[in-house]
């Protein structure tokens, strides 16, 4: 807890200095967030190249408009918002170009050394189901289950009411549940519920 408070205090100070135009402070903020934002963008867009573009756009926009930030404690939420919006724009741009959405398939050779066959199958199942979700549902799922954000914060980031967050989650999970019916969760996970 003490470490989390220290990190929050340091982030607040870095944001305050970035608002004053301190490039080094902003570089530190980039260092602290770029891995997380890249993971979010990759999960939403399902394409590492487009994810890089989206994160670059988001962080450049964060630097240019950093003085619009009134509350330094909202830094992370704001970064998540502009990253998600950059993803939306990237996806829209691709639709305009009539590009077929890329599907990222995990490289089995890269992970075989440390993953079991079951784990590989799980990864593949999650990949496929994530690919099948509409973009806005994917964004809600990633914010809620990858970043583990509470529903009201997901709503703030996406600029939608909590009710809409819930309904999108509900629909996404319903769709996932339906897919699971065709590709069930591995038996090991199921046993403990009904024994």
């Amino acid at each position: 807890m003490r470490r989390a408070e220290a990190v929050a205090r340091m982030t607040r100070e870095l944001v305050r200095r970035a608002i004053e135009g301190d490039r080094d402070a902003f570089s530190s903020l980039v260092d602290a967030s770029v891995d997380r934002l890249y993971a979010v963008a990759t999960l939403i867009l399902r394409d590492p190249d487009r994810a890089q573009d989206a994160v670059q756009e988001a962080l450049m926009s964060a630097w240019k408009d950093v003085r619009a930030l009134r509350d330094p404690d909202a830094w992370d939420a704001w970064l998540h918002r502009i990253t998600v919006w950059a993803c939306y724009r990237a996806a829209k741009k691709d639709r305009r170009r009539n590009r077929v959405e890329l599907r990222v398939v995990p490289d089995p050779a890269a992970s075989r050394t440390f993953d079991s066959a079951d784990a590989l199958a799980d990864r593949d199942l999650v990949e496929r189901q994530l690919n099948d979700l509409p973009l806005d549902h994917r964004a809600v799922i990633v914010l809620r289950f990858y970043l583990d954000l509470p529903l009201d914060e997901v709503g703030d980031i996406l600029d939608i009411p909590v009710g809409t967050v819930k309904s999108r989650l509900y629909r996404a999970l319903a769709s996932l549940r339906e897919s699971m019916a065709e590709s069930p969760i591995p038996v090991d996970d199921v046993k403990d519920g009904t024994a």
Partner: protein, 536 residues
């Protein structure tokens, strides 16, 4: 562990597995080096540019007040510039005497194509009565006008005529990147009469006759496009008749204005490609062979003040995340009224009566449905999934006035009039109809059923859904106590289901289910008794 929680955990773990753990180094260095090259915007500009964001109900980013003020000022400036440009344009279009086209040889030319070839920018061509079998192409800013009764001045598409690059089919009239004004002519051809390839032309007082080439499928395919708006045109078609044709079809990135026309005997309006938008207003559409107006793609679309009768499909269909404003339309005696699928349109002040199936149906949208009058349909307003705002509507004398299903969480306020006594009676009837098969299945399944867990979860969802539906009804306050009891009982049921679902014992699940079903039946009876006096 319940199915939902297991699914969420499985997915949570899966997301962490597939997410990359590190961003590429070049991304990090590229961002840092680019920030070295630019400076942050001044605070006032950043506040205007960045959309406002609240966290914990406090304004954390941007300034709504500044943004609104700047947007209004920019809109005003743009309007002034547009007015100035229009005035200058009108001055440039001054012209000399008209060119006359007369088949008999009494004019300047005997064919329209010759006259168009000879015309210069700004010239006017008058066409005298007769049938001109030719494919007329205009790629300049001229005026082409019929000089006589419109039905007697016909341009007929030659069957073996040239095909437009836009649509790949013969045509009577093709406008290419033209701002021409065309009026008082009949265009005849099957399947296609008019192709508009870019530009901002205007057509009025026309008759477009497809000679019976209608298409009755769900979505009219391209070969049946009678009028083809394409390649980003902003053409205007007004005060015209389009008869016995396939579709007025709006293709890629076009934004036409379709106003005050009469469409009959099969014709409809259909958006065929993403990126297109349209203003569709004041039209009368009768006996369309499929849906009368079908749109998909982001738009934006404005569909206002149209009258649609006897559509052999939906009156208006909105699909695929369209941004649409649907206002003041009348839809009657059609297969259905307004259908919204995966979009968030504003559906306002429409009158939707006596259609075969549903008046307004929203599949998964989060738009606004307000101030509509919906009556005499098999079903009035049906919200299937999504969270639309439903406000100020009157839905009475439908088979079911309001239905909320499929996990929908609409924002329904007390300004709606759903003729609550009719609606509640119908809700209970529907509920019991759905309850009976489950009760019967319970009796038949016995202790050996292994599918119970799934059924229980469905029931829990269903109970929540019904509780929401009942809560949203506009009930008089004297019945509030009964309704509260009803809703509380359902929540208690749902809670007990969730608690028991975590239990490892299949037997205890079954027991919980029977208890809950009995409870539901009791509360339903209590509610029915409470409602009965009001329906007398």
């Amino acid at each position: 562990m319940s199915d939902d929680i297991r699914l969420e955990r499985f997915f949570e773990d899966g997301l962490h597995d597939i997410a990359p753990s590190h961003a590429p180094d070049r991304l990090r260095t590229s961002i840092i080096s680019e920030t070295r090259a630019v400076r942050p915007r001044p605070r006032w500009l950043a506040l205007i540019k960045e959309p406002p964001m609240r966290t914990n109900s406090r304004l954390a980013v941007g300034s709504p007040t500044w943004r609104v003020a700047v947007i209004m000022a920019a809109t005003l400036l743009a309007a002034l510039m547009l007015a100035g440009a229009a005035f200058s344009g009108a001055q440039l279009l001054a012209k000399d005497g008209p060119i006359i086209v007369d088949r008999s040889g009494a004019g300047t030319y005997t064919t329209i194509s010759e006259a168009v070839a000879a015309a210069e920018e700004g010239d006017e061509i008058l066409v005298r009565p007769g049938t001109y079998t030719e494919a007329v192409e205009i790629d300049k800013t001229i005026t082409l006008r019929g000089d006589g009764p419109v039905e007697d001045i016909v341009i007929a598409a030659p069957e073996d005529g040239p095909r437009s690059a836009l649509a790949g089919r013969p045509y009577a009239l093709l406008l290419v990147e033209s701002n021409a004004q065309v009026s008082a002519l009949t265009l005849r051809g099957q399947p296609s009469q008019l192709h508009i390839d870019g530009g901002t032309p205007g057509l009025s007082g026309m008759i477009l006759d497809g000679t019976g080439d209608v298409y009755a499928g769900d979505s009219s395919p391209m070969p049946h496009d009678s009028v083809y708006f394409g390649n980003g045109t902003k053409a205007e078609l007004r005060d015209s008749e389009v008869i016995a044709s396939g579709s007025i079809a709006i293709h890629g990135f076009s934004e036409p204005v379709i106003v005050d026309n009469i469409l009959r005997d099969g014709t409809n309006i259909y958006v065929k490609a993403p990126g297109a938008g349209a203003l569709i207003t004041g039209n009368s559409i009768t006996d369309s062979a499929s849906r009368a107006i079908g749109i998909w793609g982001p738009g934006p679309f404005t569909i206002r003040g149209n009258t649609i009768e006897r559509a052999n499909g939906e009156g208006i269909g909105v699909n695929s995340a369209s941004i649409a404003h649907i206002e003041g339309n009348t839809i009657r005696d059609s297969q259905s009224g307004i259908s919204i699928s995966g979009s968030d349109p504003t559906v306002t002040a429409n009158v939707i009566t006596d259609n075969d199936t549903v008046g307004i149906i929203s599949f998964g949208g989060d738009g606004v449905i307000d101030d509509n009058a919906v009556s005499g349909n098999s079903s009035g307003i049906l919200i299937s999934g999504g969270s639309p705002v439903v406000s100020g509507n009157t839905a009475c004398d439908n088979g079911m006035n309001i239905t909320i299903s499929n996990g929908a969480t609409p924002d329904v306020d007390d300004t709606n009039d759903f003729c609550w006594d009719q609606t509640l009676t119908a809700v209970i009837a529907d509920y019991e109809e759905r309850l009976q098969p489950i009760l019967q299945a319970d009796a038949a399944a016995g202790d050996d059923s292994t599918a119970r867990g799934v059924v229980y979860l469905d029931q829990a969802d269903w109970a929540d859904e019904l509780a929401v539906a009942v809560e949203e009804l506009d009930l008089p306050s004297r019945y509030q106590a009964e309704v509260d009891e009803f809703v509380t009982a359902h929540h208690a049921y749902a809670e007990s289901m969730r608690a028991r679902s975590d239990s490892p014992s299949l037997g205890s699940l079954r027991e919980a289910s029977f208890e809950a079903l009995a409870l539901r039946q009791e509360t339903l009876k209590a509610l029915e008794t409470a409602v009965a006096p009001a329906t007398e």
